[in-house]
Amino acid sequence: MISFEPTEEQELVRSTARDLAAESLRPLARDADEESAIPADFLRSTWQLGFVSNQIPEAFGGGGAPRSPMTGALLLEELAAGDAALALAALSPALFATTLVDHGTAKQQERYLPQLCGADFQAASVAIVEPRPAFDAHVLRTTAESRGSAWVLNGVKSFVAYGGEASHFIVVATDPDGKPAAFVVPREAHGVSVAGPEPTLGLRALPFARLELKNVEVPQDDRVGGPAGFDYARLLNCARVGIAAALVGLSRAVMEYTIPYAKERVAFGEAIAQKQAIAFMLSDMAIETDAMRWLVWKAAAELEAGRDATRATHLMRSYVSAQAMKIADNGIQVLGGHGFIREHPVELWYRHARTLGVLEGTAAV
């Protein structure tokens, strides 16, 4: 049955997140960006709302809610409407958690999930991106070689969200058969070095680390999913839907900010919103924010049903990235010179939009 109706639980998550975005994320966003830092209080209080631990089974200390990529998409849209950097920061350990919930062996879940169910924010990251032009998530140069009872990893990973503070990473590498394989790597493992933070155009508040792996030995048991491996396409799709959901939230923020501005700003005797050239930019934002959201929901619904979401995710990803960029671009244009000044958030959203549109593996649904 085709339906656009979220469940009652999802509506609850949405309204909680919407309030948090307005009361906490938005007011903190500018300073966090200027200082390239996220207040610890914010991380702690948001963590305690259980957004990350909620979908971890009760046996490991989590909330035991059914795994729901759709709920994740709804949550990310709402939080990112407050601020995308703070939203991704608060939810960055979720990609690590959901990867283990979806693909981890019983032993891995038992070992690593409880540490994400504590009272305090616990950074944990997934490392996919590698530092080179036109990075392709399907061509990973980080290698995993089997040596006796262990795997040996070599390579460099970049844009590892909260990598500087993470105690564990999930590193995706290419195995000897040329297939993607993921490994849980503790930060203190021999041969791991973490550098950073890597400065970025947008999402400045969210620290990204660079991770170097030199002959890092990982026990057989820590290969995600065991010897059979894991479904990398699903991990990527979950991550891409997460980023796209954040872009929908960001686009909505631009629209909701520019509407009252355009109604107040007067030029040539009337509000600029009364001129079709401006009004049509705003109507286009309304059209595309809706269209983007439904594409995200469609991809999330495929993931929710446990089906291969690659087609839906592909169509969603390029569309959402392009439209969000256009909306953020027009957000600045509506504000004119003021849009260029850091007193208004539209320049921040412009930088966020470009950054999010090309990221891989920062957050997930």
């Binding site: 049955m1 085709i2 009364q274 969603m316």
Partner: protein, 390 residues
């Protein structure tokens, strides 16, 4: 629960319609090139097929709502050919107006007829408040005088809902609509228009010369002219709330056919469309195709959203305009892009793609142009009246 899955019942209906649509597709070229002929009500191969409505029996509470399913049915029909929609027609746009604004007696009397709707005149299109056709009261009758153009199904309809002003000084409030049956003295079909696309569909021009209709033919029966605001005008405009997404669905069915054809041709040429692959490992043609496919999907989702709200009896004025604006733009870009991808083959009249390219062009024009939809959307999100945003 949010879901985009069709139930078995939904699939049964849509599969049957698609099968039937392919029968219509066989005739698509013929009726495009021979526009003076009307497609028959029943194509020979479709004669013994069960009727459309019989397919809808035995539906469950878990099945997709009728408005949403209606959009998918519409798209599945035009996926075969635009003209397929003319078969087993349950009526024209005039029937929608009759259902929305007619009194029970009027519905009883005219509901079984196919009714066209005549709004546009040589001097007014997007702004129907400028209607110049007059309706002058004369005893128990109204006398209509004026010219109407672009009347969809106007040649074949049994009658028409014609918009006319009862008080030229009252502006929008003076506009009323009248039911006029074919054969009424003073009402003539002047010509059938020759068009870029949808040639199998008939589009008529009408002339009213001292055409007398009983007062009882005034749709809704309200003769008063409001002093302020738009009076009964708004009621008539309401007709368009579900027709806007439906028109988008009509276009999107055609652009889906164009996409399916293009994908087939790319496969024949050995060009793979790879989902999940990066830009670097995708051919430029495949990349362009994926861009069009995303646009198509996004537009269809906005149509379903508007219809879903209607299924829940929630207001969908904004969403209907979003669907119409998005759909109108998407179908143009998709069919233009498909031809760009296929090159010279795309413009060959041996294939239907060039026809689909012509057929969809009207989508962004009729039932309110894309620009009018943008105005409605902008006014809604800005909280502006018609006067604040012109």
């Amino acid at each position: 629960m949010i879901s985009f899955d069709l139930t078995e019942n939904d699939k049964k209906v849509l599969d049957a319609i698609r099968e039937e649509s392919l029968i219509a597709r066989k005739y698509a070229r013929h009726f495009d090139e021979n526009e003076e002929e009307f497609p028959p009500d029943q194509l020979p191969e479709a004669k013994d097929r069960p009727g459309f409505y019989s397919l809808l029996g035995g539906r469950d509470v878990d099945d997709t709502g009728m408005n949403v399913l209606g959009m998918l049915i519409t798209a599945a029909q035009t996926w075969g050919d635009y003209s397929v929609r003319l078969r087993r027609n349950s009526g024209g746009l005039g029937n929608s107006a009759l259902r929305a604004a007619g009194s029970p007696e009027q519905q009883q009397k005219w509901g079984h007829l196919t009714l066209a709707m005549a709004i546009t005149e040589p001097g007014c299109g997007s702004d129907p408040s400028r209607v110049k056709t007059t309706a002058t009261k004369d005893g128990d009758h109204y006398v209509l005088n004026g010219e109407k153009i672009f009347v969809t199904t106007g040649c074949r309809a049994d009658g028409v809902v014609a918009w006319a002003t009862v008080d030229a000084n009252a502006g929008r409030a003076g506009i009323k609509s009248f039911l006029v049956e074919k054969g009424t003295p003073g009402f003539t079909v002047v010509r059938k228009e020759k068009k870029l696309g949808i040639r199998a569909d008939d589009t008529a021009a009408y002339l009213f010369e001292n055409c007398r209709v009983p007062r009882a033919n005034l749709l809704g029966g309200d003769e008063t002219v409001a002093k302020e605001g738009s009076g009964g005008f708004r009621g008539v405009m309401k007709t368009f709330n579900m027709t806007r997404p439906a028109v988008a669905a009509i276009g999107l069915g055609i652009s889906q056919a164009a996409l399916d054809f293009t994908r087939e041709q790319l496969e024949l040429a050995g060009i793979d469309v790879k989902y999940g692959a990066s830009s670097a490992s995708q051919s430029a043609l495949a990349q362009k195709f994926l861009e069009l496919e995303a646009m198509q999907e996004a537009a269809m989702l906005t149509v379903m959203r508007a219809a879903w709200l209607a299924d829940r009896q929630e207001s969908n004025n904004l969403e209907s305009s979003i669907a119409k604006a998005k759909g109108g733009q998407a179908v143009r870009l998709v069919t233009q892009g498909c031809i760009e991808i296929l090159g010279p083959l795309g413009v060959s009249r041996e294939h239907l793609l060039e026809k689909w390219f012509r057929d969809v062009r009207i989508t962004d024009i009729y039932e309110g142009t894309g620009q009018i939809q943008n105005l409605i959307i902008a006014r809604t999100i800005l909280g502006y009246s018609r006067n604040e945003l012109r």
